[in-house]
Subunit: 223 residues, 2 copies
DNA sequence: CTGGAACCTATTGGATCCAATCTTGAATCT
DNA sequence: AGATTCAAGATTGGATCCAATAGGTTCCAG
């Protein structure tokens, strides 16, 4: 549902492009999204724009106020924390379901990604590279999930928190990145051994650790 | 988001009414939902109908095929099983988050519901009553959840499986109902003691047991 | 000068019209 | 007889037009 259809209708295309622009930061949280402006930008009429906004609202990326307008969704610290708590239970399930269906080639690629992530922690940190590779690593571990709604949910949660991960990863130390990637290696180990419970436990721990690292309860500078 | 807005716009109204009709079984899984027909039925134009269908698709209640039409969603045994596995991890989280915010009055009402459910297992079983009360009981245990997306997810999963619960509860024995309600009593006990972990563990067990009762792997008469 | 109310404008929501696509049925060919 | 192709009808998707609502501005009164 969040994936692209082969011959997508126009509303779908607009939704996909707009989603990409939001995730890349072209449209920032809190920014207003006028229908006319969007229709103009995407060379479409207001109709597919309206459908796209509906869809992105369902995905949690924008919020619509009737008769008023649409804005790129904002998260506060509470929602961020809660989303991570959801991730802590949902993503372990996702690896459990995924592991039996992962190909050896996919697992090899996971190994490469761990090494590439290590490289981003080098002398001059590559934060954007880390974000991209981290996302690719985790989503690839879920590539074996056959139940689309579960995959959609995972994707949704990654998307709605994307902005804030970027913001907070920038504040992380190099040690944090290395520690994070140690988790990745352990998750990968569980996957290589095709041990769903072990991998799931590691994913849970990883997300919990990340949440604690990112959301410092004494830090009210968030958002 | 799945709840009703006070002064909803027309598309929202249509979505709410259509959702109710689907859940009550007026529209059955697999049935086609023509836009013209719906617009006629709800005294609206096709435009709000289209928005409503989009929304219900996001909720998983209907599925839209571009340029072809919309049908009430069907679940197969696999999807049913997978949804229950999601419920097994999501709803324990929901009670954990809910318990601190439940009022004493709400907890008292839960006690009443357990008794009312017992009554449905009497000499002439009241299956529809059971379905209604069971739903009310569980959703009330989640009434303290402050994070709307979590509540929405729970509601969504209840809604998409509603039809199949009805179908399968009809096949259950009286003993099954009594056993189910014993679980309810244990969940309620955890809530009364304001013990999130205990309640969460019971919810997990309850859903797991229900899944095993409902989905007999050797039974291919499902759907 | 400040608070409030009425008006005006910009933007969204809904209705209608037109175009594009899919489904269907029948006719034809193998 | 069965499968395939083609065409007609029906239905959805998109564009445009109109109505309703919200927010801002201005004007008036206290």
């Amino acid at each position: 549902m969040l994936g692209e259809l082969p011959s997508a209708i126009s509303g779908q295309r607009v939704a996909d492009e707009l989603r990409r622009l939001i995730l890349e930061g072209e449209f920032k949280p809190g920014q207003r999204l006028g229908q006319e402006m969007l229709a103009d930008r995407f060379n479409a009429s207001r109709m597919p724009v309206r459908e796209a906004l509906r869809q992105l609202e369902a995905e949690g990326l924008v919020s619509i106020v009737p008769h008023s307008g649409t804005w790129v969704a904002k998260l506060d610290a509470f929602e961020f924390d809660q989303t991570y708590k959801m991730r802590e239970v949902v993503e372990p399930l996702a690896v459990r379901e995924s592991i039996p269906n992962l190909s050896d080639a996919q697992i090899d690629r996971l190994g490469e990604l761990v090494e590439e992530i290590d490289a981003t922690a080098g002398p001059h940190r590559d934060v954007e590279g880390f974000l991209r590779l981290d996302r690719e690593f985790h989503l690839l571990t879920y590539a074996g999930v056959r139940h689309q709604p579960l995959l959609d949910l995972v994707l949704r949660q990654w998307n709605t928190t994307q902005h804030y991960r970027r913001l907070l990863v920038h504040r992380q130390s190099v040690e944090d990145v290395v520690a994070t990637n140690l988790d990745h290696a352990l998750i990968l180990d569980g996957i290589r051994r095709r041990d769903p419970e072990s991998a799931a436990a590691m994913v849970h721990l990883h997300i919990r650790r990340t949440r604690n690292t990112l959301v410092d309860p004494t830090d009210d500078t968030f958002v």
